[in-house]
Subunit: 253 residues, 2 copies
């Protein structure tokens, strides 16, 4: 892990700002918010950002890269709680002196902007907009979790995998749009089939069978850490989701 504390890039110029926490804030508040930022950190793939049991004293916004948030279970299993990418807020907790209940690991090389949590708390008192921004993030995460739970509980592996792949694709390509990249060739997809299984409670073997089934139906193309979805509507059908509704749920921050 590398840290830089000086000559930090400017928030105004940040390509991902509108996707991130401060995207909710008017530019006029940006100075105050930016003053909270303490440093930028870079993590290598497979490096932990933090571990279950750590006491969080900084919140982080991902500037670049994919992060997996997960919990270890008995018997060597693990449950992936969230796939996080640029713009996402990590490790923020209102509850005081609580230890954090999950771990976060970098999948790709990851850059984050870190903010001391205490600074947040002090600032919220004088900047109610920050409250609404943060609370809105918490609510959205909660809504996504409920939606995921609903899918997992009620549908089979094919639907679950379709739902997850489509979700990751939508979020990934929304981000490419922001950076004005060409998304027609699919998005970076650095996850293993085991990751997908750990998110859905499936074995990697069964995920593999489902991948092949989806490939045969021309619903996904997935290889070389790349995911392409030719017909989002069609995959949404398999995922038992309304594409418009899903996009609204996922691209909002």
């Amino acid at each position: 892990m590398k840290t830089i504390t000086h000559n930090l890039p400017k928030c105004e110029d940040c390509a991902i700002r509108k996707m991130a926490l401060f995207g909710e804030l008017e530019t006029k508040y940006l100075d105050k918010a930016r003053a909270l930022r303490s440093c930028q950190m870079t993590f290598q793939p497979d490096e932990y950002l933090y571990r279950e049991g750590d006491a969080p004293n900084t919140a982080m916004t991902i500037h670049d890269g994919w992060v997996i948030l997960f919990k270890d279970l008995e018997g060597g299993k693990r449950q992936i709680l969230r796939f996080a990418l640029a713009g996402d807020l990590l490790s923020y907790k209102t509850g005081n002196n609580d230890i954090i209940d999950h771990s976060a690991i970098a999948v790709t090389e990851v850059t984050v902007c870190a903010f001391p949590i205490q600074g947040f708390k002090d600032t919220i008192a004088e900047l109610p907009e920050l409250f609404f921004a943060i609370n809105s993030i918490t609510e959205i995460l909660s809504a996504r979790c409920l939606s995921t739970m609903t899918t997992i509980a009620n549908y089979n592996a094919e639907t679950n995998v379709a739902y997850l792949l489509l979700s990751l694709y939508i979020r990934g390509s929304a981000h490419c749009d922001t950076l004005n990249q060409d998304k027609m060739d699919g998005i970076l997809f650095p996850f293993t089939q085991e990751d997908i299984g750990d998110a859905l409670g499936l074995t990697a073997i069964h995920v593999n069978r489902v991948f092949q089934k989806l490939r045969k139906q021309d619903l996904i193309e997935c290889n070389n850490k790349n995911l392409r979805i030719a017909d989002e509507e069609k995959l949404a059908g398999v995922a038992q989701a309304d594409l418009g509704e899903l996009k609204r749920l996922l691209v909002a921050i």
Copy 2:
């Protein structure tokens, strides 16, 4: 549904206040908070508190009774998102002019205290403590949802049912404690086996088989709308949960 707007009972005297949103607030702030309350409403069993698609303009705290929050799915299925009881906050959303994405139905007779949401928003600006209270609730709901998702995704029906029954029992009996009632005879359990199935994505038939299995092991006694759990630790073992951890997750508001 019956509404009363005058001679509302005093918040200071409310038996469930310490379990509810304002339990987080110091008494000195109570006047301000209480001023937000607009009315008390009473709903009969099977009556909707609100429906998916409604535009929420009031938040509600349950004063008494059990409420089920759910979403209708295709094919006549439904997903129960939350079982709510006295002290729980319903239908609060930071996001403006959003319609609500689930329905709420009374299981028992239910009394709620209603607050215009706009009043909340205005008040938060001058009462940051209210922010921390609300955000803490949103975070807790999110943490519970992740925990439920983890259980559903990774364990079988027996574990899931055990986890849910234990959760409901812990919350129900914590509430009996508050009211100084005798909890030794179990708690009110007004749910059908189909409700349990709808929460976990199981069929009522399979829930029934699991109930019987748990009964044979003397882990639960459940009849006449009453649930008794003699050995919480033992059931927690089946539920693959740490009893202390679970209680911390569930009794906090």
